[in-house]
């Protein structure tokens, strides 16, 4: 790698740190509720001050996801949405000036097949980082190699069950940022975040110079606020997905509903 070259994700965190701001990282499940609305949702999120967009590529067997994300994935798969559509959406977004870094959030098997078919570089060309929920660093050599080749950051997760002894290894293979899983369990809203959260984030920050974002279970402003006290950013996934789904099922405008939700939840001042 060139000495001075920063990835889009790194650039974003540089900017945030110069401004003394925290990152807001919303998650959208590709095709939730429909492919077309994903574009409008992404544009709205950029407009609302999001810093990084996480895009979920659906998988038939999402073992790390709760009911909201499961339903979103199932709907998308039934609608025939595939990695090709991810490439179409991200190309379209770039074409109309969407400038946030995009992180692909998925499971390993769809990525293996893209790699096997030589499509990884092509279909992920407008993506900046990849997070694979069922791929621990110990199994990830091949994945890391192909991501480096395609100039994709590799984001790995640290969870509450991760012993301190493995943190260094997780940090060593991560680039862009570290994803700190707030609590045990699958994606989905939690009424309470665990009390050990602060000490875990502090430990991660002592282990690595990478920015740390906290996700899983954040659905309320107080939770986002608490995370922003210690971490470099917060992720909102299922709670946003649920708002989008409810609006869509109720015949309301998902984009308007999501905008209102983000305004309520995002604790960062202008």
């Amino acid at each position: 790698m060139k000495a001075k070259h920063l990835s889009p994700i790194q650039q974003r965190f540089e900017l945030l740190s110069r401004q003394g701001r925290k990152a807001f990282v919303p998650y959208l499940s590709l095709g939730n509720p429909e492919l077309g609305s994903c574009r409008d949702l992404a544009l709205m999120l950029e407009d609302c001050g999001a810093d990084i967009l996480e895009l979920g590529l659906p998988f038939t067997d999402p073992i790390a996801d709760g009911p909201t994300n499961q339903r979103a994935a199932q709907r998308a798969i039934e609608a025939g949405i595939r990695a090709e559509h991810l490439a179409e959406l991200t190309a379209e977004l770039r074409g109309i000036g969407f400038s946030l870094p995009i992180v692909l959030f998925t499971y390993y098997n769809p990525l293996i097949q893209l790699r096997r078919r030589g499509l990884l570089g092509d279909l992920l060309k407008d993506i900046d980082g990849v997070l694979v929920t069922d791929l621990p660093p110990e199994e990830a050599q091949e994945h890391i190699g192909s991501c480096r080749e395609s100039q994709l950051d590799t984001i790995f997760l640290a969870s509450p069950t991760t012993p301190s002894s493995r943190l260094a290894q997780i940090c060593a293979v991560s680039s862009g940022f570290l994803y700190c899983v707030s609590s045990e369990g699958v994606t989905g809203s939690r009424s309470e975040l665990p009390k050990e959260l602060e000490s875990r984030v502090t430990e991660l920050k002592q282990t690595s110079a990478l920015p740390v974002c906290v996700g899983f279970g954040i659905s309320r402003r107080e939770q986002a606020e608490r995370v922003c006290q210690v971490a470099d950013g917060y992720v909102i996934g299922s709670a946003l997905g649920a708002v989008i789904e409810d609006a869509w099922l109720g015949g309301a405008d998902p984009v308007a509903a999501a905008r209102e939700f983000v305004r309520k939840v995002d604790p960062r001042g202008p």
């Binding site: 073992i63 595939r82 390993y108 899983v181 699958v186």
Partner: protein
């Protein structure tokens, strides 16, 4: 220290531990607990005591004279796992792992089930050992195996119906894994086949190897020779690996029979080696049924226990090594074998085991009369009777 990423967890390019970060530490804990328990003579004594005086092992090896005559070729011998307590080989694994869980201080056991046999075996072991038990089962499976749902409930287990995805075994595993991710400290996940992340495939193989160990001694005693051919049905692959493993260094041909459903060309089957490719599902790298985008395909089989899109990683390896060959039997062939075995031997076999028998009936007629075929009759067919009757247009 042993762990989920050890070389023993790899079978050539297959196996491994592809799990969410939250499960890595629980797998380390499981690896080290298993490692110490399997070296502990007291554990083996306890397991042996229960297997012999409660579960009814060893199971017999039966000569099948009328099927042999019908076949007109080799001698057919049946390893009678149908006579194991709860009616299938599944208890060998469930009991061993339940003992392990108790030693680990886990109070809550979760398990997935397809046909319901592993769920019943787990509920049974938990009842005997005083452990709390929850079994996840796809709603489609719960419907076609209603008898087993009620059996589990009688045994004191909770049955959680899983209504996501294809609503079968694969979705039950998804839900069990999600549950484990949420509460790994007090929960033990008792996986029912030679699948999943390391160390499960090796734990299950070791606990099921009792099938092959007994069968090898029995066939040597009864026939004075090793079998020429070993045959077993392959869902995840636990009864097959349990039979095959102790014969691995013997000059026996080994065949695993997958569920051909309505035929591999139909798209409605579970013959991973006939229509699949390599990928990662439920924590392991193996052969599976998937589309070109890596989405897992829905499977079909008349037998719920074989209706699963991935095969155990060691089978993928043994096939690549040329040590085990794989074939399939269709629904129709299996149903025919089911009836034939009932009528000619007085044994109603499980639909799963009927696949292995169907393959023998179809492929072995040309073998010599002094050759010995050993078939693992992995379970009894009582659980399948209502379903077969329904296919006949009869409601019981």
């Amino acid at each position: 220290m042993t762990g989920p990423f050890d070389p023993q967890g790899r079978y050539g390019r297959y196996g491994g531990a592809f799990v969410p970060e939250t499960l890595v530490e629980p797998l380390y804990e499981l690896c080290s607990a298993w490692d110490s328990v399997r070296k502990d003579p007291q554990f083996h004594a306890e397991l042996k005591e229960l297997l012999s005086h409660w579960a009814g092992r060893p199971t017999p090896l039966s000569y099948a004279p009328r099927l042999t005559e019908h076949l007109g070729g080799p001698q057919l011998w049946l390893k009678r796992e149908d006579l194991n307590h709860t009616g299938a080989h599944k208890l060998n694994n469930a009991l061993g792992q339940a003992l392990l869980a108790r030693r680990m201080g886990k109070t809550h056991i979760i398990a997935e089930t397809g046909a319901g046999q592993h769920g019943v075996a787990t509920a049974t072991a938990c009842a005997r050992l005083g452990l709390d038990c929850t079994v996840f089962m796809g709603t489609i499976d719960a419907e076609r195996q209603a008898l087993n749902v009620y059996r589990m409930q009688l045994l004191g287990a909770r049955v959680r119906r899983v209504d996501s995805g294809s609503r079968t075994l694969k979705d039950a595993i998804n839900e069990a894994l999600r549950h484990w991710v949420a509460d790994s400290a007090s929960t033990y996940y008792l996986l029912g086949s030679a699948l999943g992340p390391h160390p499960y495939p090796s734990i299950v193989r070791e606990l099921q190897s009792i099938i092959g160990l007994e069968a090898r001694a029995q066939v040597l005693e009864r026939c004075g020779q090793l079998p020429d051919l070993l045959v077993a049905c392959v869902g995840g692959g636990s009864n097959a690996i349990g039979l095959f493993h102790p014969f691995r260094d013997d000059p026996c041909r080994m065949i695993g029979v997958e569920a051909g459903g309505e035929g591999p060309g139909s798209g409605r089957h579970a013959a991973r080696f006939a229509g699949g490719s390599v990928g990662v599902l439920h924590g392991t790298r193996t052969w599976l049924l998937q589309d070109e985008w890596g989405q897992i395909l829905e499977t079909h089989s008349v037998s719920a226990g074989l209706d699963y899109p991935a095969v155990g990683p060691e089978h993928a390896f043994l096939r690549e090594q040329g040590r085990v060959e794989f074939s399939y039997a269709t629904d129709q062939q299996a149903l025919k074998a089911f009836r034939l075995c009932s009528e000619l031997e007085g044994i109603i076999p499980a639909l799963e085991s009927s696949h292995a028998l169907a393959w023998v009936l179809h492929e072995c007629a040309a073998m010599k009369r002094d050759e010995v075929v050993l078939l693992n009759l992995s379970g009894r067919g009582d659980k399948d009777v209502a379903q077969v009757a329904a296919l006949d247009g009869k409601r019981l």
